[in-house]
């Protein structure tokens, strides 16, 4: 079963044939936003001083104004308010959905409400839902980077596949990824993508990153063509160079 861990820009369902039908959908409103009752507020502004996120500012009329994009919903303002005029209101933070795709694959997709800060939360929920279905194997497609969504995507996995291109920015990114994976105690292997962009750099990737390289996928225009047709490349053209390499890699990994 697949899990789309890129809750800010989920694409896995689209890349696997699009949504045929939704089997289950859960909405989350766990995060809270501080809301000030102006009727009771005495404009003491203690809430502004205590907010660690600079999420409250003094409005032109003297009342405190909460910036909903900066508020973390911690409730420090409510604790210090002498007039007890701050309440914490829930906000829709995201949706987790179990989907059957056009190709008959089952995927749990995660999606945050635009502008929400719940990315990690929603990814965590998506992985929980996948686990509940009790499949033989779960493949999580993580977001790029090393931040909140990525940490939630990789925590506790049995194997982390680090995808890297033989270009300096990508290798620098992979190094940070591996540092994070080590901190989290994960088993890691690397796959070099578009290896023919720089053969020599590709050969050095394993040494530079200090983890085993399990495969080298060639730069193959069929891959991006397959996205345009809403299909994984293995399905779109099993005889393409990329597909053949991918199959070899999966056979090595899964046996």
């Amino acid at each position: 079963m697949g899990v789309d861990g890129d809750a800010e820009a989920p694409d896995l369902v689209l890349a696997c044939g699009g949504e045929r039908r939704a089997l289950r959908e859960e909405r989350f409103a766990e995060l809270r936003i501080a809301t000030i009752d102006r009727g009771r507020c005495t404009k003491c502004l203690r809430c502004i001083d205590v907010c660690a996120f600079d999420a409250i500012a003094r409005g032109s009329d003297g009342y405190p104004l909460v910036d909903e994009y900066l508020c973390e919903g911690c409730g420090a303002c409510a604790l210090v308010c002498p007039a007890k005029c701050v309440s914490l209101e829930p906000r829709l933070s995201g949706i987790v959905k179990l989907v059957e795709t056009g190709l008959g694959l089952k995927i749990v997709s995660s999606e945050i409400t635009a502008g929400s800060r719940a990315t990690g939360h929603v990814v965590h929920k998506a992985r929980e839902l996948a686990k509940e279905m009790n499949p033989e194997m779960i493949v999580v497609d993580s977001a790029a980077g090393i931040g909140c969504a990525v940490i939630s995507s990789i925590v506790g996995v049995d194997l982390l596949i680090v995808v890297v291109e033989p270009l300096p920015p990508s290798i620098a990114g992979a190094r940070r990824m591996i540092e994070l994976g080590k901190r989290m105690g994960l088993r890691m292997v690397a796959v070099v993508n578009k290896h023919d962009l720089n053969e020599e750099a590709s050969r050095r990737v394993g040494d530079e990153l200090g983890i085993e390289v399990v495969g080298y996928v060639p730069y193959d225009p069929t891959v991006i063509e397959s996205y345009a047709h809403l299909q994984p490349v293995l399905h779109y053209d099993p005889n393409s160079r990329a597909s053949k390499t991918l199959l070899e890699i999966f056979t090595t990994l899964v046996g």
Partner: protein, 290 residues
């Protein structure tokens, strides 16, 4: 005040850094320009520019340090910690899981005996590089931190304290559509939303448009369709959406000179003078129009 231009787009790998670097280079010919690399997970602008590190500052947040001699183990802090970062072990007192703490300070407020002291935790770094044509401010997330939104917010507010020295500021954003993009969108006079003509690119573009519409304060928005020609049908739909929202579109064809410039760690307009360079120049002009 400078003209602040942001290069955004929901999807990763569509060419945001490519557009930001070229825009900054072109504007650098007109006036002093600061490029801000806000892709704090994996900043990579330094790979493309000849610059020298001038200073480096840490981005820190509050973490509680429990004073065991004062703590009466009432557990107010443990029970009220919104992130569940504090836990209690009977023989060892109150302990912190630093990776979960978001620095809100609720523990300090609810402690009746003042046993919570102020500690600091590094969430990231801000680095300033001086270049010949272009200066660079880079935000970098500390490995293991979940708080990229916090680092980006501090990066942009640090930048705003120094950008009156510049005519132009170009911000290279991270991918995504969460609150971490808010400080970037809010401070920008104009925004280029970069996408590619695939169903994935289209889907993420619509999300990015909705985010920008929600938070922007009247900034100019344009669409950049990179890798044009991949899928005519999807590209047509992007053009229709742009037209219906009254947004100007710039189109960059799918051609190998673009990845070649990136692989060679060069800026496109420095090594090619063709129709793509022409479009990049027009885009830069549009973005800095008052």
């Amino acid at each position: 005040m400078p003209r602040v231009v942001a290069v955004m787009g929901g999807k990763g790998g569509v060419g945001k850094t490519f557009i930001a670097l070229n825009t900054a280079r072109i504007l650098g010919e007109e006036g002093r320009t600061l490029l801000i690399d806000a892709d704090v997970d994996n900043p990579c602008a330094t790979h493309f520019l000849r610059t020298e590190l001038v200073w480096r500052e840490s981005v820190e947040s509050f973490v509680p340090v429990i004073d065991r001699s004062r703590c009466i183990e009432c557990l107010n802090c443990v029970n009220q910690c919104p992130e569940k970062a504090l836990f209690h072990v009977p023989s060892k007192g109150v302990n912190l899981i630093p990776d979960l703490c978001n620095g809100c300070g609720v523990c300090k407020i609810v402690c009746p005996v003042n046993a919570v002291a102020e500690g600091r935790k590094v969430e990231g770094w801000i680095e300033f590089y001086k270049g010949t044509a272009l200066d660079l401010l880079v935000g970098k997330l500390e490995v293991g931190s979940r708080r990229e939104a916090f680092v980006i917010e501090k990066l942009i507010s640090r930048a705003s304290r120094m950008w009156s020295d510049y005519s132009y500021v170009v911000i290279d954003s991270p991918p995504g559509t969460s609150a971490k993009l808010y400080p970037i969108a809010r401070f920008s006079d104009s925004i280029a939303l970069v996408t590619e003509p695939t169903p994935l690119g289209l889907s993420d573009l619509v999300k990015a448009m909705n985010l920008v519409e929600k938070v922007r304060g009247g900034s100019r928005v344009v669409i950049v369709v990179n890798k044009s020609g991949l899928n005519r049908e999807v590209e047509q739909r992007i053009l229709e959406i742009a037209r219906s929202r009254g947004l100007r579109v710039f189109t960059i064809p799918y051609r190998d000179t673009v990845p070649r410039s990136v692989a060679g760690k060069r800026i496109y307009v420095d090594i090619f003078n063709d129709d793509i360079s022409q479009t990049l120049r027009e885009l830069a002009r549009e973005l800095c129009k008052p």
